[in-house]
Symmetry: C2
Subunit: 284 residues, 2 copies
DNA sequence: AGGACGATTCGGCCCTCACCGAAGTGTGAT
DNA sequence: ATCACACTTCGGTGAGGGCCGAATCGTCCT
């Protein structure tokens, strides 16, 4: 007896204590320095494996990516989207919700789910930017168009991603509205520019989030603008009808007004403003 | 025939095309806008599931967390650390290396591995900050002390983490050296402060990385300073012997000189400067 | 009430994979 | 040459879990 490899606590499956309730990735705010004395007979370690396991399944990952549009989907819609049986979807949603990545809301016989919060969304896009690529066959022209539109412009939870998002970040940097030298910063000129647009950059509603954050784009592998400023800009562009979001998808289309506005205010190159080729179809 | 749930391309296992070689998470730099036309008969999607699957195993996750000390370990050391057979370790390392998270270097009959880069390290710490907690039994007093020391101060790849790291970020913010309002920024005063310390804040060697980045601390769930400035500060503190790194661990101990320096220059509170209680033992 | 519909539960199938030991390969030391 | 050592390869085992279909539960509509 006396095995060389300690005991078999390696079943790789376990139940865990969520830290802060549903809000998965609290990012700052004051919180005292508890968690100091680990002198008991047990300690806490972050369980990276458990979190990763939630995303380690193709279907679950696809569900999360779909929810990156920031919208609320029903279990059935997700089942169709992921092409698995409703029963399978139920199991996946149970895991994702109890793992804190998703929140649910039951209404009648429907189960609505969405991402737990902006932090979760950004963590997901960042992960996607780091992930390897996989070749995926395109089966129809409609699907190819859909994909092309997605690469061109889409929402990433609450801000603009895709080639358009990257172009905006680049243009703002070029015009001195964002500075990249010390992290990504909104400059004074940038703040003025936002105010001139009618976006109050110090809105208290967004004060708890970092104003400027970057988000690694999974189609371009380039940084684009996220955070509160990114979200405000996206909202404004929608309010002004510079971009419209095709219902049921996360695809954004630049309108004629938007083309004018973006060209005037940011001198965006034409590629970034190309019209979407087709009307986006229903959920892919 | 004609199944309702398309074909079974759901084996959840696949081989993938790495995007950029070993460097997993390129973060910026100019790169043209290729990847525009997805008109072929295949398209590329980031495979989040594949990446997550690498981390979804307890043992592999433990290996990655161990390597977060920024050091180079041999396969045998990792086998001991993770308490699995050498053959098992080999398999895990093969996966992690070919997945781009680790790089290896063979010398003689040894296999040395380390994390692929700073980006990988930061992605890991961020993931750890988001992950749920798991209760882990502490089996000995030495282990409890080790754990306590880790929570107090440690290296996170190339910068300072733990309570000390958070305290430094807080103090720098309080003194106006860092500004949190628009992301986390090094202020002009901060740049001067660094220069006064003898840290050239515009060293070309670090120009390709964002100067200031934050890193979510897994013991405190608070942001601390990372990026090039964080790394430079850590290096400087080690050069000046303010902190010493116990060999074979990622534990940092604040020296007497360090206590004086940190108190003088940043007015760090005493808790953050408490001496480590024991000499750190060998690898846990 | 009756029926359509969305979601859930359960049982069973099958594939994946983390694990080990034993044998093998190459390197370094004696 | 010989042996020790670090790591690798291979076969076998067992557990975990993703998948479906069928049956069930609730809710909404007519």
């Amino acid at each position: 007896m006396n095995h060389p490899y300690k005991k078999h606590l390696h079943t790789n499956h376990q139940h865990i204590t969520r830290p802060g309730g549903e809000r998965a990735g609290q990012q700052d705010g004051e919180r005292g320095a508890e968690r100091g004395g680990a002198a008991g007979s047990a300690a806490e370690t972050p369980d990276v494996a458990a979190l990763a396991q939630l995303l380690a399944d193709r279907t679950r990952a696809a569900i999360c990516m779909a929810l990156l549009d920031g919208g609320t989907w029903t279990a059935g819609e997700l089942a169709d989207y992921a092409a698995v049986a409703p029963s399978t979807t139920t199991e996946h949603l149970n895991l994702l919700v109890s793992g804190g990545l998703l929140t649910e809301q039951r209404r009648g016989r429907r189960r609505y789910v969405r991402l737990a919060g902006p932090d979760t969304a950004e963590a997901l896009e960042n992960l996607a930017g780091l992930a390897p690529y996989r070749q995926v066959p395109v089966r129809s022209l409609a699907e190819a168009n859909h994909r092309r539109a997605l690469h061109h412009a889409r929402t990433c939870y609450d801000h603009i991603a895709g080639a358009l998002g990257v172009a905006i970040a680049d243009a703002m940097t070029a015009r001195g509205l964002l500075a990249r030298d010390y992290g990504l910063v909104l400059t004074k000129d940038g703040a003025r520019w936002l105010t001139a647009l009618g976006i109050p950059d110090t809105a208290p509603s967004v004060a708890h989030r970092a104003h400027v954050r970057t988000c690694l784009d999974w189609t371009m592998r380039r940084q684009h603008l996220s955070g509160a400023v990114g979200a405000a800009l996206c909202r404004h562009a929608m309010d002004q009808a510079w971009i419209v979001k095709a219902p049921g998808t996360r695809i954004l289309t630049v309108t004629d007004a938007g083309r004018t506005a973006f060209r005037e205010r940011l001198a965006l190159p034409d590629e970034a403003l190309a019209p979407s080729l087709t009307l986006p179809v229903s959920r892919p």
